[in-house]
């Protein structure tokens, strides 16, 4: 009986999480209401929180976890469309699922050999590991998107200079058009897909203000530099000259970074070279050790 209790508890928890997940899908919501909510979400308006989200918001532990993990901001930067509560629910669900799968595997081992192949408590460790990995994945996605956006914005400044000066396009339009023509969608989803509305209230006066807010909220400092350049262009400086100067500054920065990296690499490569001793010692030492231990009757 005592051996069944943990399985029964885990099964109950899994079913509970499952039921909560199904409730989150709003299966009972009328179609027209769902359509209105979808339209509101597409236009960037706030939609009323679901029952589950209200519950998650009311539980102090979950609220604190969301705040600590900075989930709202991280999800917006990573460009993942879930709400923090929904994401947290999914992470918990996947962690519990991995615990259940691991326990099931252990149970198969128990049936086959009569003893636990590994301590059942290890399942909790697996669950915790899966939880941490999912959070790390989100943070890594957010960082990648920041870096890609920053790089693309820098690379497009030369073209922005031509498009604003030669073709008379507004800065915002030029950046939006160019963001659609790159090999990834990181920047496009922010400036063209209006993803910025997830972190910034649409109360800014102009593009310069918007770009400064994006720089702060999304952690992409180049937006701030572009905003400063746009402010200069607004007071009469040539747009081509201004944005070309930004492009040149970006490449000077990258050149400095590349030189620094090349210089640092000269020192850092000594680490793997020194560590190369390990496989070499192993290659020579393993047979010698085997011979000695065989001679002493240890092998």
């Amino acid at each position: 009986m005592a051996r069944i209790v943990p399985f029964a508890a885990i099964a109950l928890i899994t079913v509970g999480i499952w039921a909560l997940g199904l409730a989150r899908l709003d299966l009972l919501t009328p179609d027209d209401l769902r359509a209105w909510r979808r339209l509101a979400a597409l236009r960037g308006f706030a939609t009323p929180a679901g029952r589950l989200e209200r519950v998650a918001g009311a539980v102090p532990l979950l609220r604190r976890l969301q705040d600590e993990l900075d989930l709202h901001r991280q999800l917006a930067i990573a460009g993942w469309s879930e709400s923090p509560s929904g994401y947290l629910l999914r992470v918990v669900f996947v962690s519990l699922l991995s615990v259940a799968v691991f326990l099931a595997l252990l149970a198969v081992g128990l049936v086959e050999s009569g003893t636990w192949p590994a301590p059942p408590a290890l399942a909790l460790l697996v669950g915790a590991l899966v939880f941490v990995l999912q959070i790390a994945w989100l943070r890594s996605s957010a960082r990648t998107r920041q870096q890609q956006s920053d790089r693309t914005l820098g690379d497009m400044m030369m073209l922005v200079a031509i498009m604003t000066d030669g073709r008379g396009l507004q800065l915002e339009d030029a950046i939006r058009i160019l963001s659609r023509c790159t090999d990834h969608q990181s920047l496009q989803s922010i400036v063209d897909g209006r993803a910025w509305q997830r972190l910034i209230r649409p109360s800014h006066q102009n593009t310069i203000e918007l770009y400064r807010l994006i720089a702060i909220e999304y952690g992409i400092p180049l937006f701030s530099v572009v905003a400063d350049a746009a402010a200069n262009a607004n007071v009469g400086m040539s747009e081509r000259e201004t944005y070309t100067r930004v492009a040149a500054a970006v490449y000077q920065d990258r050149l400095a970074a590349a030189r620094f990296q090349a210089a640092r690499a000269k020192t850092l490569v000594t680490v793997p070279v020194a560590m190369m001793l390990l496989p070499l010692l192993l290659l020579i030492g393993a047979p010698i050790f085997a011979t000695i231990s065989g001679g002493l009757g240890l092998g």
Binding site: W18, G21, L22, R24, L25, S81, E82, G86, R90, F93, V94, R151, T152, D155, M156, M158, L159, A161, I162, M163, G166, R167, L169, I177, L178, R180, C181, T182, D183, R240, E241, T244, A247, A248, Y251, Q252, R254, L255, A258, R259, Q261, A262, A265, L268, V269, V271, P272, V273, M275, M276, L278, P279, L280, L282, L283, I284, A286, P287, A290, T291
Partner: protein
């Protein structure tokens, strides 16, 4: 009793019921995990990053990408053949992996230096283009055609489309696609957007934007090349060291006997994994900078949409 025979003896309803339950569970999992099945299907314009990298490498070497892929596959096959001929179990794994990674690694330096040479030559041709427009009073289209006819040794394949007639924009796009170089793509993008302006505007653009920024980009590429060369030199040194040590170890009878045993094979696997880990660590320490790649066809379409 085979598993198939055991399944065949089960009642049909039970099997169908289990399949329905599993399908329903998968659908519920997909719904809870918020999987958008439509997005899992590859979009029409989506590029496969692995294939794009192979195409970049082939372009760096100046080969058609089909030839490069065929060569890589034949080296993987060669690794398998070596494993089959020697009969060493471990080589069934190490052989194809070495064939796949080794060839790319061996030719990466050559591809990078060739690409750099091409980019340097391209900047020279940009100055040439400027002089043709400023001194010889040629239009952009005529000057580009002239460049296509006299491309120089490193740019023959890249500038060839410019020599053809037809749409200049399409030819510029084709030039960028062939080059697969961020510097050439940037310049092509500028030419696409600036083409319909006056000749003075174009000359000024080349003088004040394209050439200075292109030189800065080239300097970054050169620094990256230095980094890449360091990485390759150290990896070659490490590989040589381990091969020499292995050869010495295998030339001694007692050591060779040990490495033919099971525990010896395990040690060899560990050594190979450690070596691979160190090479990966080296790659992480000296990682060259990446660039934004432009979809020139889309850029040309956007330009067309705004009135050419």
């Amino acid at each position: 009793m085979t598993p198939l025979a055991a399944v065949a003896q089960l009642p049909v309803l039970l099997v169908i019921g289990v399949i329905v339950m599993l399908s329903a569970a998968c659908a519920a999992c997909a719904a809870i995990l918020d999987l958008d099945l439509a997005r899992l299907r590859p979009a029409r314009e989506r590029r496969i990053p692995l294939l794009e990298r192979e195409k970049d490498m082939a372009a760096g070497l100046g080969w058609p990408w089909q030839r490069w892929l065929a060569l890589r596959l034949s080296f993987i096959a060669l690794g398998l053949v070596v494993a089959w001929l020697t009969g060493v179990t471990l080589l069934w794994l190490i052989g194809p992996v070495t064939g796949a990674v080794g060839l790319r690694f061996a030719l990466a330096g050559r591809a990078a230096s060739r690409r750099l040479r091409m980019e340097r030559a391209f900047l020279g041709q940009l100055r040439n283009l400027r002089d043709r427009m400023a001194v010889s009073n040629q239009s952009l289209d005529t000057a580009l055609q002239e460049l296509g006819r006299n491309p120089g040794p490193d740019l023959g394949h890249v500038l060839a489309p410019l020599a053809r007639g037809g749409s200049t924009i399409a030819n510029i796009v084709e030039m960028g696609v062939r080059a697969r170089s961020p510097i050439v793509e940037q310049a092509a993008a500028v030419l696409i957007w600036a083409r319909s302006r006056s000749t003075d505007f174009l000359i000024q653009t080349i003088d004040t934007v394209l050439v200075p920024v292109g030189e800065a980009e080239l300097a970054i590429q050169e620094e990256s090349m230095v980094t890449l060369a360091q990485q390759r030199a150290v990896t070659f040194a490490m590989s040589s060291l381990i091969v020499v040590m292995l050869a010495i170890a295998l030339s001694v009878d007692t050591l060779r006997a040990y490495y033919q045993s099971f525990s010896g094979q395990v040690v060899l696997v560990i050594v190979a994994l450690l070596f691979a880990g160190l090479v990966v660590l080296l790659g992480l320490i000296v990682r060259p900078q990446s660039w934004t790649r432009w979809n020139l066809q889309r850029l040309a379409d956007e330009q067309e949409r705004l009135g050419g």
